[in-house]
């Protein structure tokens, strides 16, 4: 198990290295106009040359990459070109916002999908129909459009919830929940669509196993059979789909944070992308991949905890 985890982490680090290298080459390979853009139309060529020198853009690409990499492995991701703040500081401000939103969304997706999926697997009927409808609607409606509609209805018309902004959990848990209610509602639908279907399938598979019949033959009640045995055996599949959802939401946060003016990683990415703040973009890519890596390793560990057989591999 330890060697397996070590392999997974190593493989993830290789991925991190490859992707950041490609991103670096793509971004720093096309920096001819960067200084001009930062300084504006009226900059003199002397100013531009000076800025390029200061940013290190006049050096060959591999030298720039070497500098960036040696900083990055020490946790120094450089300084933003547009705000005079360190990239790592910016990221540390933005990450908790996005992570709290995505985690809340994953929690909601997990609970709703587990309930729907289990009822649909055991009873069929209305839960099956709900899942079928959600699977089409949740997939077809862009979540930011749903977010816009929610804003119009609940914030602009009914005035129940704030349309924009974010309140940190530490300053007001109630305000935090209120500020995330609409964005989280907007992003969970598509997650519920795929997760509830997967959980339904996994529970149905588990219920067809021989050991379920044997447990029933011994007189174990349906509640225990479904919740304790079938759901627990379906858990790995459910966790996998939730981890995939986590990754999707981490990216999707970019759009939904824009709609709700949430100062998270997503809006930072959009801002940096539109303004060409390349060090920040590199930082975002690094942070996102590391988060994905952490999520995947955590899922592996939970798998091992749930399924004793995995521990041996």
């Amino acid at each position: 198990m330890i060697t397996y985890l070590a392999k997974r982490i190593a493989s993830g680090l290789v991925l991190l290295a490859i992707v950041t290298t490609i991103t670096f080459v793509m971004l720093f390979g096309a920096t001819e106009n960067v200084a001009q853009n930062i300084l504006g139309e009226n900059a003199t060529s002397a100013q531009i040359v000076a800025l390029e020198q200061r940013l290190g853009l006049d050096q060959p690409l591999h030298v720039q990459y070497g500098k960036w990499l040696s900083g990055a492995v020490r946790g120094d991701l450089g300084t933003s070109w547009l705000q005079s703040e360190r990239v790592s500081t910016i990221l540390l401000h933005r990450l908790p916002v996005t992570l709290s939103m995505v985690s809340l969304a994953i929690l909601v997706i997990g609970i709703v999908s587990a309930v729907l999926g289990v009822i649909a697997a055991v009873r069929g009927g209305w839960a099956d129909k709900v899942i079928q409808v959600i699977s089409v609607v949740g997939f077809s409606m862009p979540n930011f459009w749903l977010g816009l509609i929610l804003v119009v209805i609940f914030a602009l018309t009914l005035r129940w919830l704030p349309a924009t902004g974010y309140v940190p959990f530490s300053s007001s848990p109630g305000g935090w929940l209120a500020s995330l209610a609409l964005p989280v509602t907007a992003i969970v639908l598509s997650g519920i669509a795929s997760a509830s279907q997967q959980i339904r399938g996994a529970v149905m598979d588990a219920l067809r196993q021989d050991y379920i019949r044997t447990l029933r033959a011994r007189g174990v009640g349906p509640g225990s059979v479904v919740i304790r045995h079938a759901l627990r055996n379906a858990l790995p599949a459910a966790l996998t789909v939730l981890s995939v959802q986590f990754i999707a939401l981490l990216g999707g946060a970019a759009i939904i944070e824009r709609v709700f003016a949430i100062p998270g990683l997503g809006s930072l990415t959009v801002q940096a992308s539109l303004s060409g703040d390349i060090p920040v973009l590199m930082g975002v890519v690094v942070a996102a991949i590391i988060i994905v890596l952490i999520v995947n390793v955590t899922i592996d560990i939970i798998h091992a905890w749930v399924n004793p057989k995995v521990r041996l591999q």
């Binding site: 493989s11 991925l15 490859i18 991103t23 793509m26 971004l27 096309a30 699977s135 089409v136 997939f139 077809s140 409606m141 862009p142 930011f144 459009w145 816009l148 509609i149 804003v151 119009v152 602009l156 067809r208 021989d210 050991y211 379920i212 019949r213 044997t214 447990l215 033959a217 011994r218 007189g219 174990v220 225990s224 304790r228 055996n233 995939v244 990754i247 999707a248 981490l250 990216g251 999707g252 970019a254 759009i255 824009r258 709609v259 990415t269 959009v270 992308s273 539109l274 390349i278 973009l281 975002v284 890519v285 996102a288 991949i289 994905v292 890596l293 995947n296 399924n307 004793p308 057989k309």
Partner: protein
Amino acid sequence: MTDFSNEPTSRSPKQGRFAFARAVLANPLGLVACVMLVAVLCVAAFAPFIAPYAPGDLQIFKMNAPPGDGYLLGGDGAGRDILTRLIYGSRNTLAGAAVAVGVAGLIGVVTGLIAGYFGGNRDVVLSWVSDGLMALPALIVLLAFYQALGASIYLSMIVFGIMLSPSFFRLTRNLVNGVKHELYIDAARVSGLSDLRIIVRHVLRVIRAPLVIQTSIVAGIAIVIQAGLEFLGLGDPATPTWGGMLQNAFANMYTAPMAILWPGLAISVTVASFVLLANAIRDRLQQGDRVTAGTTPKPKPAPSSSHPRGDSPDDDVLLDVRDLVVGYPGKGGWTEVVRGVSLTLRRGEVLGLVGESGSGKTQTAFAILGLLSEGGRVLSGSILFDGQDLAHFSEKEMRPLRGKRIAYVPQEPMSNLDPVFRIGYQLVEPMVAVLGISRTEAKARALELLARVGLPDPKRTFSAYPHEISGGMAQRVLIAGAVSCKPDLLIADEPTTALDVTVQAEVLELMRNLQAEFGMSMILVTHNFGVVADSCERVAVMKDGAVVEMQEVTKLFAEPAHPYTKMLLGSVLNDTTVRSYVAPRNPEVTA
């Protein structure tokens, strides 16, 4: 999938495809989806003829104008006609989706074919790359690349296509892995066809329909992501796009909230059409293995329990099964797997239930337990257990009987233990539920039972997981579990078949001893006459879902009445191991 993989060469591809397309269109949702997609396609193609204005036309006094006055859906924030821009926006949307799907499909299918067909190192490397791509949050990568790619949404869609290619890769690879060992592929290889021709002719045909489904779904994803990028302002502002329109509407949300409705609807309806088309195709592919709810046949009413043999009720009889018919829903009604089984079992008696595989032995056993697989049910007949007819018992009424009165030992020990729970837990839980005793008491009893069934280290087995013990040990655990609540009837379904020969005799002996010790009745399902001769007092012979002969064991061996029994015995008696079982205990058999 079945349509293609089962008979890949039996009909000409053209015929097959058209028949298939017709079947998909026969599904109302599939038809609606196709009509919608064709409509969107036409709108995109003939935009200049349909749209009332040019996409760039603006009338300054119609900024955020309400619907009417020449602007059917109103004006946007710059005073342009929303309807016109919706119509032109379909072009960009479909083209962008086509680019993403094209790139994803091309890369994914080609690499998937290589990985699946050739395997080895190529598979390892490609799978790693695919997993890596899937682990990336696509939108963040697209946003990061925007600086390098520039405002062209098509370049972004190419990158997105690459990021989506793993979905095609995995699908293709798994499908190819599934078919590459089929006989017709081997035959093609032996007959000297080149790899390329085999792939194109046989493999691609099998994976065609699943690929269409995947294409539909990926097209939907691409449309949504594309709209998202445009909404963020990452597209070319000069081109009318649905996402760009949403951005414009968002900026003017306080003045003209209705404007956010139309582009979103256009996106949703288009994507929903793709999803519904995918669903219609999937439904069609799965139709072979499923019965639609409307055609589920009703069970026949149970006949009055007149009995051909007309035995009088006997206090000594524990179980009396009469004319039992068990069926599963099939294509044209019920498929009967048990057709009129009758058998009786006295208290303390061991009855052998013999027959070749598929003769309905196991289904009869499950029917008695009320544990038929999904969809199965008792269509007629009765199962009198201690005077109660179990055939008409509900699940709720059956539950108190299971474990306590009727118990079950399965055939395959390893698959009958829940892999994620310790063995001890799986023994304790039913005892607590059935006997209502405390956990500590149940644990003590479980340890006793584990020792009784001959496990050398009960404590260790108790705290072991199923994968940590051998098949023979697992079967002993299952036997311990079955007898743990002192049942009156034990149904053992081929309890030794899956075990090593050396262990078989020990397990049989254990069962026989426990049966005598607990005074249980036992039904021993088996296909082995040696087991019958060794353990049973009477035997019922099954063929094609019915009992053809029920006899005392000695009598059955001496003078089998039914030709089928004779045939079975004839084929077995040549087997020396069986005779060595039979001879010492039942000398009259060989006489």
